[in-house]
């Protein structure tokens, strides 16, 4: 049996994993990255629209700063996020953009002078000053006060991933692809690495490391209709969960993106609406202003997705029943704009639907319907990305750090991935540098053997069930009963049915007995892991009797801060369990910089306020008023209200154009 030793093991080669690997490499550590696919194929590449960072360069983003990005992120999260993490993030995001520029991301730049943009369906002239010419541009996205989303056309994730991957290649970081971590090696409260399966040879081996990071992205494929890549199956979450020590946080917080194209579910970026595209119903009527007079198509994603479904339920969708959809109209942006800034969207629409969205009028309208898109929940970590298992870290979409709470803003995903790679990557690297391990090779061999025996056991099953059918059934349950609108009756059914399916994963027969290139075998060990994840989502949603962000309960429509201002923690206590155990971690109102209130979009008055909210608001207001009078600046005031820790280089001030240096 093979054992490979390293200082730092990174599982997952997307933006968060690779940036963390770079952080570890900079500190002189021996890093190994393992990835199921060649790292440049990772799902980070599919992020289209852009990355939020408050550079404040362009006309429409003037006056932007960390404070506004912070407030937008907290409101977007429906007060579910960790506000200190949000502060760490917004202060590092501008630095991440600038670092990436120096690593080769060809960010779209500002041209001085007049340009035409479509705002609220009207052509508007925007004039850029000469002193911002050549600086990094930004576009509008949902739920933001300023135009803050930096971009490279609509291939932002691709450019970012390639730059970070090339940086890793430059540093000669050892990247091993077509490898899957299928179990963590742990003893007591310490993680020692992972058992890894080679997806080409089927060979099992162990990777022993001082620190292990899981950066494996989201778990969208537990749903049928999802924008996620086929590799986003949540098995990275599952191996953490299966230790019994590490909880998954807020798994019920699942984002449904408003505008995947029908029927393939392939994403059309929020940039479509950010750049001025509108949503139309079967009568061609632009309906979002009727529901959201202020933000219209650019309310947060949870709100827009619900409004679309609400409108469809009123019979205003195109087509009937479950096939019903609405139109996304970007033809009003003009062919020039589309062919420069939304080219991948155009390519997808032509390829998969035979529609050129640049064609004027109805001919160019694109059929869209909300579909699963992003996992706010994930492996629960502290603010340094460390989990409850010493030596195990997590970053990016895989983690519940918790930047997004119950809804993530568009443009904050790749931003989180790379920022977490910087912040958590550095904490992770420090940990790997400063801690040693002692583990017997015999213990490691036993860990490999255990996985090997499990695979052998799967091959001996002789039952009537088919693993592909179980998987499909799980995905249908998640789509139908744990979707945009949820209720107690369906959630209870979902939980029961998923538990039953989980049991059935042991009542299958794997027809071919080969241990390699046997897709049925691969599914047979992955699907039970996926069902554990699905159960955490469904059970979490069932037990959370309130509506918050993307988690919407028809039977509990209010956000209930009095009872539910907390984070769900799902544990898989014992191997033989068939259901996660849920616990809750309070979110302290008295520590908040921005106490809970109305988001500014979505239904008003649908909040049961926390008893401390008013008290904390008063405290915050008093500090702000007093310090403003004393002539303190916004950074000093922020520090007095909610101090937070961050590496000095990331905590440093972000200079903006016009600042005196």
């Amino acid at each position: 049996m093979k054992i490979q030793y390293c200082d730092a093991l990174v599982i997952g080669g997307g933006l968060a994993g690779l940036r963390s690997a770079v952080a570890a490499s900079v500190k002189g550590l021996n890093v190994v990255v393992i990835s199921m696919v060649p790292v440049k194929r990772s799902h980070s590449a599919a992020a289209q629209g852009g990355m939020q960072a408050s550079l404040g360069n362009s006309k429409m983003s003037q006056g932007d700063n960390e404070d506004l990005h912070f407030a937008d992120t907290v409101k977007g999260s429906d007060w579910g996020c960790d506000q200190e993490v949000a502060r760490m993030f917004v202060n590092t995001a501008p630095k991440a953009i600038r670092e990436l520029a120096s690593w080769g991301v060809p960010w779209t730049r500002i041209t001085q002078g007049d340009r035409t943009a479509v705002i609220n369906a009207k052509e508007t002239t925007i004039s850029e000053e000469p002193d911002v010419h050549g600086l990094i541009h930004s576009r509008d996205f949902g739920g933001t006060k300023k135009w803050r989303t930096c971009y490279t056309g609509d291939a932002t994730g691709h450019s970012m991933l390639f730059s970070v991957a090339n940086e890793a290649i430059k540093r000669d970081i050892e990247i091993q692809d077509r490898k899957e971590a299928i179990s963590l090696i742990h003893k007591g409260d310490r993680c020692y690495g992972a058992v890894v399966r080679d997806l080409v040879t089927g060979e099992l081996s162990a990777y022993v490391a001082k620190g292990t990071m899981i950066a494996t992205g989201g778990y969208g494929r537990v749903y049928r209709t999802t924008t996620n890549a086929v590799i986003c199956e949540g098995t990275g979450h599952a191996i953490a969960l299966e230790t019994g020590k590490v909880p998954l946080g807020n798994m019920e917080a699942v984002q449904f993106h408003p505008t995947p194209i029908v029927p393939s579910g392939i994403l059309l970026t929020e940039g479509c609406r950010g750049d001025g595209g509108v949503l139309r119903d079967k009568d061609g009527h632009r309906f979002m202003p009727d529901y959201e007079p202020e933000k219209k198509e650019l309310a947060s994603r949870d709100v827009v997705a619900r409004r679309m479904m609400e409108h469809i339920k009123k019979g205003k969708g195109v087509g009937i029943g479950r096939e019903s959809f609405v139109w996304l109209d970007i033809s009003i942006l003009g062919r020039d704009h589309i062919e420069r800034n939304l080219r991948d969207v155009q390519d997808i629409a032509i390829t998969f639907n035979g529609i050129d969205p640049a064609d004027e009028g109805e001919k160019g309208w694109l059929p869209v319907h909300p579909a699963q898109h992003y996992s706010m929940g994930g492996i629960r970590t502290d603010r340094t990305g460390h989990t409850a298992l010493k030596g195990l870290f997590s970053a990016g979409e895989a983690a519940c750090w918790d930047l997004h709470g119950f809804n993530r803003l568009g443009g904050n995903s790749v931003s989180e991935a790379v920022v977490a790679g910087m912040i958590i990557g550095n904490y992770f690297a420090d940990f790997c540098r400063d801690n040693d391990i002692e583990i017997s090779t015999n213990y490691v061999k036993e860990a490999i053997l255990k996985v090997d025996l499990e695979i052998d056991k799967i091959l001996t099953y002789e039952g009537p069930e088919d693993i592909f059918e179980i998987k499909a059934r799980m995905q249908d349950i998640m789509d139908n009963k744990v979707g945009v609108f949820r209720n107690g009756i369906e959630l209870k059914e979902a939980v029961e049915e998923l538990e039953e399916l989980y049991r059935k994963t042991k009542e299958i027969t794997v027809k071919a007995k080969d241990k390699i290139h046997n897709d049925e075998l691969t599914e047979a060990y992955r699907v039970p892991k996926m069902l554990k994840i699905a159960l955490c989502v469904a059970k979490g949603a069932n037990d959370r009797t309130e509506s918050r962000g993307a988690h919407f309960r028809e039977d509990y429509e209010k956000r209930d801060d009095a009872n539910w201002l907390n984070r769900t923690l799902a544990y898989w206590r014992a191997e033989e369990d068939t259901m996660p155990t849920l616990e809750y971690e309070p979110i302290g109102v008295m520590d908040m910089e921005l106490p809970p209130g109305f988001r500014g979009y979505g239904s008003k008055g649908n909040i049961i306020l926390h008893p401390d909210a008013e008290k904390r608001q008063k405290e915050v207001d008093e500090i702000r008023e007093r310090m403003t009078k004393q002539g303190k600046d916004r950074i000093e005031i922020q520090d007095a209200i909610m101090p937070y820790r961050l590496h000095r280089e990331y905590k440093a001030i972000n200079f903006r154009v016009g600042d005196r240096l």
């Binding site: 799902h43 600038r98 690593w103 730049r109 291939a155 450019s159 080409v200 200079f655």
Partner: protein, 246 residues
């Protein structure tokens, strides 16, 4: 989506071969499946693997034409399978082969990742600079048109289709391919990169580089991102000729 004949049968012939298995011999295997509206080869192959052959190997990740995983030969032409619609094959017969020029993993799965990694190292596919960036300060200004030109070439997804459609690559196994040449052009116009033409000449100034290209342009004909490869290779060749002659 409407021009589909209901319930048409698709006959898909696939080359199956596992080079890691000494008992395996290259064999064409025929699969017949029902066509569905809007069916791509991603959906067709998924159906085959779920229903007919659990051990068929292929690579898909994003299934949206963005990640570059699924290059293969469809009726002899290298394409991204996920973007290929079955309805475009009027007689319903489709033959799938793995892309040539890459190490075969199994069936339709080839190791483009390994090849691209080698290419990236060979051409130094990253920003070469002596400057260190203060990430707290306002970023360096870049002419918007230059940033846009860089982005145009940065759009390459390293799918390998240009390599699989290249005649030079067949004659010269070490040929760097359009993807490698495109990378060089991309960095040569990026103001952040300090390398000069003489540096690039060291990388690609030979017959395995810029002078190996015979301008047959299979690369540009098949590039799924429609990159202007012909123009950019010609541009770089002129610059490299100047280097050679000085």
């Amino acid at each position: 989506m409407s021009d589909i004949q209901e319930d048409r049968d698709l006959t898909i012939n696939i080359l199956k071969f596992n080079p890691h298995d000494t008992n395996s011999r290259p064999t064409m295997v025929e699969y017949v499946i029902k066509e569905r509206p809007g069916m791509s080869l991603f959906l067709a192959l998924t159906a085959i693997r779920e229903k007919l052959d659990h051990n068929l190997a292929y690579d898909f990740v994003c299934r949206a034409g963005i990640c570059g995983s699924c290059g293969m030969l469809v009726n002899g032409k290298p394409v991204l399978a996920c973007k290929t619609q079955t309805k475009d094959y009027k007689d319903g017969n489709i033959t799938l082969m793995p892309m040539p020029a890459f190490e075969l993993i199994k069936d339709l799965s080839v190791n483009t990742g390994k090849w691209m990694n080698g290419m990236s190292k060979r051409v130094g596919s990253w920003i070469h600079t002596s400057e260190s960036t203060d990430i707290g300060k306002v970023e360096r200004r870049i002419e918007p048109e230059v940033a846009n030109d860089t982005f145009e070439l940065d759009r390459c997804i390293e799918c390998g289709i240009c390599v699989a459609s290249c005649a030079t690559k067949i004659m010269r196994p070490e040929f760097v391919g359009a993807v490698g040449l495109n990378r060089v052009v991309r960095f040569s116009i990026d103001p952040y990169d300090e390398r000069r033409d003489s540096d690039y000449y060291e990388l690609i100034g030979d017959d395995d580089g810029i002078f190996g290209c015979m301008s047959l342009m299979g690369c540009e004909d098949h590039c799924p991102k429609e990159l202007p490869l012909q123009e950019k290779i010609a541009f770089m060749r002129r610059k490299m000729v100047n280097q050679r002659d000085t």
